[in-house]
Amino acid sequence: MRHLLSIEDLEREDIERILSSAAFFADVADRPIKKVPSFRGRLVINLFYEASTRTRSSFELAAKRLSTDVLNVVSSGSSVEKGESLHDTVSTLSAYGPDAIVIRSPHAGAPALVAGWSGAGVVNAGDGKHQHPTQALLDVYVLRERLGDLDGRSIWIVGDVLHSRVARSCAQAFRKLGAEVTFAGPPTLVPKELEALGCEVRHTLEDIGDADVVYALRLQHERMREAFLPSLGEYTSNYQINSRRLKARQLLMHPGPVNRGVELSGEVIDAPQSLIIQQVRAGIVVRMAVLVEVLTGSHAADPTRQPLPSPEPQLA
């Protein structure tokens, strides 16, 4: 795989291949030596135009565990603040010869542009309201670890779906693996048009008991320029996931960071059915697997080199 820009570009078997490498890396993470050496000396650049703790740090750790060198570029304190355009920043960084660029941007489509400008493999670490494919892959990884497979499972994605790239990516990934996805939340944040993604749309949590998995989204104050909600209190009384609404058999997920007491009540965050910490842990191994996809063949793309055929047991 040359780039990972959107879950839409992946087939089910691509997702399954990535998840099985991730499972291998989970074993590596239990060893005294938590690194593998094949990508020694490759360069991965993390280019972050938006605040991020877990995504950036897990990409950094993932790259280091693949033995690559990592360069972190964040917009604050860099030439971006001085007004340099994305194109010029990418051209400059490309002069260092990166093998992969991981980019987070507030603008939908920015990673696709970077893929066109640079010879490096590009991984989308979140672009505006569009996509966050590695989050979706790690969520699928966590769910498969717990449930075996997703075929026929009912997954409810609750909250601010409209502003959420996570919701979009997750819904696509869950559906590709055979789950049924329902979006739930107030009509202003979960418009009917979302049915176009092949998901059901609900405006109450009446039937949430049918869900096998409840995936709560963060209420994104920073993306809300208009008044989408009458009040925070009204939102929490109608849509907060709490111990009254969540049954013991249901699993709970959240992409983080959590607004404690808003979309989730404190007691469910720490309940045994909550997979939130597992999601964070999966972030590293799944991002390792994604970087492997992009770094494999990074040199084959060089026209001066001949690509080798696919691995055969023969090459023993």
Binding site: F24, V36, T296, S298, H299
Partner: protein, 190 residues
């Protein structure tokens, strides 16, 4: 894909006999205090994919010969290869299983074909990240020559002189429905 003619060089019975002989050689060569690998015993580790199945067949025979339970493991060396950056596709990973301590043990790495030696180099690197075995030995069903690294096998089922361009196909019943080893000409790349 066009069918390439293949010449059978080992049949089921030959493979079984070769493995039995290797099991005896491993037993003769190494000291076996009954008990754990960690106490100086021998362990068997197969390389994905066909080496794993060959190792699985060696293990009960060896256990019987030494009258003790020989630990069995498997190694996936995908992320230890030296050519990942050159390949077009990401590897399909089989997983590593080494649920015994290898410190102080004699670890016999098992693979189907020894060719350039690069897989074995990767396997040794991968193995050493789990601990410090007393010694590492190599058992292969077929040694076809053409080494690119200074690596030699300790136990060989059959030495098979080949031309570089030829292919050696090892089939095991568990994956391929039958046991056999054949030689064919290299696929002609369009």
């Amino acid at each position: 894909m066009v069918d390439v003619p293949e010449t059978v060089v080992l049949e089921e019975g030959d493979i079984t006999r070769a493995l039995t002989r290797i099991a005896h050689e491993i037993a003769e060569r190494n000291a076996h205090p009954a008990g754990h690998a960690a106490e100086g015993g021998t362990a068997i580790v197969g390389i994905h994919r066909r080496g794993v199945h060959l190792a699985r067949r060696l293990q009960p025979q060896l256990s019987e010969l030494v009258a003790g339970d020989v630990p069995l493991g498997s190694l996936d060396i995908s992320f230890y290869r030296d050519d990942l950056g050159l390949r077009a596709d990401a590897p399909v990973v089989g997983g590593t299983q080494l649920d015994f301590a290898i410190d102080g043990a004699t670890v016999v790495i098992v693979d189907d074909v020894l060719f350039t030696g690069r897989t074995v180099r990767a396997a040794i690197d991968a193995l050493l990240e789990y601990g410090r075995p007393a010694r590492v030995q190599l058992a292969v069903l077929i040694d076809r020559g053409h080494r690119e690294l200074p690596i030699r096998p300790d136990y060989v089922g059959k030495n098979l002189p080949t031309a570089r361009g030829e292919r050696v196909n090892v089939r095991v019943a568990e994956l391929d429905g039958l046991d056999e080893v054949t030689i064919s000409q290299a696929r002609v790349l369009a």
